[in-house]
């Protein structure tokens, strides 16, 4: 890659990351109105840009499923063609109704309440069965660590059940000890570690040591 191409394709974006990151960071420490206005404007720009990036999901789905329809048509897999066609149809219907007619419209609300709400809620909730299956088939007391994990888990499940808590009020006291002591201080250690790691990753990103977000290069 020539140096001028490298400059505008790589080094200028890295410089932008550094400059903008420093401006936003300085805003925390320096109470100066022009800086605050600039930071607020940059953050509003971020809202708009991220909203545009949410369209990537739609573009990827259209690309992927168009290719699948072409491939499955030639392989005569008509059910798979139907599935991809339904997916794309739902995508376009939702966009046309939501953007064209409006998400405040009765039609969009009906579509959302009928399809989105039931499908999202059930897809999320149905993982209960996978969790329950793994609880039954995989979780075994094989060592002191897993024994402790299951013991605390067992006590917590019992304490979260009002039936057991009514029979054994001591469960409430034990649960408070577990949550306000064991869990809080263990997770505090994890939080401090994660916070430190996050700060270091942030510094590395601003100093152009982490450049993965720029995507693949031609070099």
């Amino acid at each position: 890659m020539s140096s001028s191409r490298r400059m505008y394709q790589r080094q200028i974006p890295l410089a932008i990351t550094f400059i903008v990151g420093m401006i936003v960071s300085f805003d925390w420490f320096v109470k100066w109105e022009p800086l605050q206005t600039l930071t607020t404007t940059l953050m509003n720009f971020q809202i708009v840009m991220v909203a545009f990036m949410m369209g990537f999901a739609g573009v990827n789905l259209v690309y992927l499923h168009t290719k699948r329809i072409q491939r499955n048509m030639s392989d005569n897999k008509l059910f798979d063609v139907l599935l991809s066609a339904i997916l794309l149809a739902c995508l376009f219907i939702w966009i046309i109704v939501g953007v064209g007619i409006g998400q405040q419209s009765d039609l969009y609300k009906w579509l959302f309440n009928t399809f989105n709400q039931s499908l999202s809620a059930t897809a999320y909730a149905a993982t209960l069965f996978y969790l329950a299956s793994s609880t039954y088939r995989v979780l075994r007391i094989r060592s002191a660590e897993t024994g402790l994990l299951l013991l605390v888990g067992f006590i917590t499940i019992c304490a979260n059940i009002p039936l057991f808590k009514a029979w054994f009020p001591i469960l409430g006291t034990i649960l408070v000890w577990i949550s306000d002591g064991l869990v809080k201080y263990s997770y505090r250690a994890i939080t401090i570690g994660v916070g430190l790691g996050g700060i270091l990753m942030g510094v590395r990103t601003l100093l152009a040591m982490e450049t993965g977000y720029l995507g693949a290069t031609e070099e």
Partner: protein, 277 residues
């Protein structure tokens, strides 16, 4: 190999799943109506909201989707009702793409107009906001520069409550209430509001995200509602009954079935013949 397992470890998944569904369905038809013991974390949340005065503004991130509506909607409803009882004004936004469309279902249970709460003056809904943590920072810095219209498309210039949020917005907000399925949203709000501006904060993460937020209690986060369980406790402590109490009965039965099978699986593991493959 399956034949090496004790029969207690070989109960088919179908029976297990049917038992869970059956137990939870049974309790829906014949609820127990057990009293709900209230934890100190929920009491702390209640005290934090009780400390607010009439006219104070609560910024609410109704950041839940349809996937977590069973836990979060009762929490939103009871918090809104409690805020109305205190005369606290609410500004509602959502960091979830499904949040704004789920608000209608919650409002049908709250009915703010019937209780004298006027939209635009006492409460406001601005809809979904993308952008993550920088968005929270921008909203708290200058709400009015971020949003131009409310969720219905009505200009904010005609709304008295929006005018009260002129920059610096963080000085006008008395409390932030965050509901989210994701720990990153909860932590983001803590960093941008509680750590930066010392704004009192209460949160309702899902039960499984509570351990991630516990280290911030009570230093940055004055109260945490433990998901749907916390919502049921809050309904109990505030004297504003709702739907979370019904779900707690179902949690009892579902949890009981899971516990029984956990014990059976471990008993089967220790009873199975040792040696062989």
């Amino acid at each position: 190999m399956a034949t090496d397992k004790h029969f207690l470890e070989r109960i088919p998944n179908g029976i297990y799943f049917l038992l869970i569904i059956g137990a939870m369905s049974y309790i829906t038809l014949y609820p127990l109506g057990l009293p709900i013991p209230v934890t100190e974390m929920t009491r702390a949340t209640y005290r934090a909201v009780e400390a607010l005065g009439e006219g104070d503004i609560m910024l609410v991130d109704q950041g839940y989707g349809a996937g977590t509506i069973a836990s979060h909607e009762p929490g939103f409803v009871v918090m809104f009702k409690h805020a109305m009882r205190k005369g606290v004004k609410l500004v509602i936004l959502s960091t979830s793409v499904e949040g704004p469309l789920l608000l209608d279902s919650a409002l049908a249970k709250i009915n703010p107009e019937a209780r004298g709460y006027v939209y635009g003056t006492d409460w406001l809904h601005v809809g979904y906001v993308a952008g993550g943590e920088p968005a929270y920072a921008a909203i708290l810095q200058d709400f009015y520069s971020t949003f131009t219209v409310d969720y219905a498309g009505t200009p904010l210039s005609g709304m008295p409550l929006a005018h009260e949020l002129q920059a610096p917005t963080y000085e006008k907000i008395a409390m932030v209430y965050v509901q989210s399925a994701g720990g990153d949203v909860c932590q983001g709000w803590i960093r941008q509001s509680a750590v930066r501006y010392d704004i009192p904060m209460i949160q309702q993460p899902l039960e499984m995200m509570v351990p991630t937020i516990l280290p911030y209690f009570p230093i940055n986060c004055q109260g945490i509602l433990n998901g749907g369980i916390g919502a049921a406790e809050y309904e109990s402590v505030s004297g504003l009954p709702g739907e979370a109490v019904k779900l707690s009965d179902m949690l009892s039965m579902g949890g009981l079935v899971c516990l029984i099978f956990l014990i059976l699986g471990n008993i089967g593991f220790y009873l199975k013949p040792k040696g062989g493959n």
